[in-house]
Symmetry: C2
Amino acid sequence: MSLSALCEHRPVGIVGLGLIGGSLGLDLQAAGLEVHALVHREATAVRARERGLANRIGTDPGLLEACGLVVLALPLDRLLDPDPRLLDALPATAVLTDVGSVKGTLLSCWRERLAGAGRGDQASRFVPGHPMAGTASSGVEAGEAGLFRGRPWLATPDPDTAPEAIALVRALAETVGAHWFLCAPVLHDRAAALISHLPVLAGAALLAVADRAGDDPETAALARFMASSGFADTTRVGGGNPELGLLMARTNRPALLQALAAYRSEIETLERLVSAEAWPALSERLQQAQTQRPAFLRCDPAAAARLDDSFDDAL
Amino acid sequence: MSLSALCEHRPVGIVGLGLIGGSLGLDLQAAGLEVHALVHREATAVRARERGLANRIGTDPGLLEACGLVVLALPLDRLLDPDPRLLDALPATAVLTDVGSVKGTLLSCWRERLAGAGRGDQASRFVPGHPMAGTASSGVEAGEAGLFRGRPWLATPDPDTAPEAIALVRALAETVGAHWFLCAPVLHDRAAALISHLPVLAGAALLAVADRAGDDPETAALARFMASSGFADTTRVGGGNPELGLLMARTNRPALLQALAAYRSEIETLERLVSAEAWPALSERLQQAQTQRPAFLRCDPAAAARLDDSFDDAL
């Protein structure tokens, strides 16, 4: 069934018209859907209307009234601390989904908020999502047509999530050309800790150590001078937005702590090997790293198939 | 005085016509110098002649006979274990310089080899160098005109190095448009450990931890699937050439051990902060990382000036 039919021909609501929300608005309109978008500031609404990011755009939460599906396309901090007026404005019968990069905390947060707002039954229609498409851009200028085409769209429902709600969000993802995958929230967050949140701290630690340079200002000056593209790449996310790094640590703390413990242990091992001049063992580890990396550089269809299996098991 | 005059109008020799040697050959010929290049394999010589990388190119070490300056533009492993036939072929009166990325070990290695070959007096004319220009390319196709223009060319002589030899290598660097800087070998190697060798191990450790994923195959599969450009960038050098990583660890072991100890301690601190939910302190560290990074992204003239000062002190 088409997304429109699954929505019973009601509009799709989008809260937030940044990179994800704006791109979604463009693609959904192109697919013939009516899109109503709620933004925070009037200036954003004006520009979003100029860019045609949705059919109706404004700052009045009443805009969402008729929507059968609402996509919460907000930054993670606002998803985790939603405006009570937004909660009030969500149609009680709508399916809800989000786009946040941490899922376990978010699912419990929204279940709690919805229950607290006397919408306990809507909690089963909240489908946590993570469309994995990004560019370096953000804000109202960032949205672009075709952003999701061929990209993965992970969803992390749990056994309490209503199957019809999952089917509706899947139709949304597939309408914009994304590949739909399911996994358990805890798995998502463990994987995110390893490939996203730990690298932030690993890179930040590299910067701290190079900047301090054993408290020797001459070495520090020379290190800054000699640093080339290798150091720049290795520290890019570590030297990125500190608010986002902090938020990921706060909201994915247990998984991040596991990842940090494993990382500390691995660094200790490398230190021991260098100290003991255990060159064959160090060589083997460096060779393994070279062998391991390519699998992290592209979406592997075989891995994706295993994900679907693992989710079936988890349910 | 010009490079040619400093060489007493003798040819410049280049050993190896990869990225650095080939680029140097092109630029030196363009500056009107006679360049003789020694390569390892005849097939390389044929292609290098086609590309015009030097005036005379061959596999016979006798080619270097008349040279007043010889640039050893070989990979680090071959610089650290030079072919005895190459040593024999170096003109006894020539100034020697190299392009290796580790300097302390290399300087002692060459002093030892030269002394062992009965060329003790030539040891003072060996000027360790590190032209900091690179592209992703290597081999006989990689050399390009103008590679060194505006780039730093570090040299790491010590008080036993002859000032005339330093002046000659400086003229070489400036002839190809590089900025000339001096620093003590131990400083160079400490800085290289921080910005080049430690990031290799830090990235390799990230790959190991993400690949293992707490021995959970589902998390590992999902991590590979979810990894995006942030993980790719952070692990680029860690998943690079394992022979090079091993060689850097072997030849810069004391500085790398210091860097690893500081890094382990920093990771322990971050782990403690996350564990204790010490969010303001973690936030401060992430903000520092963001503030620190830009200084590592460009050659800072003020830092360079301080380098020259620090070298004067060191001498």
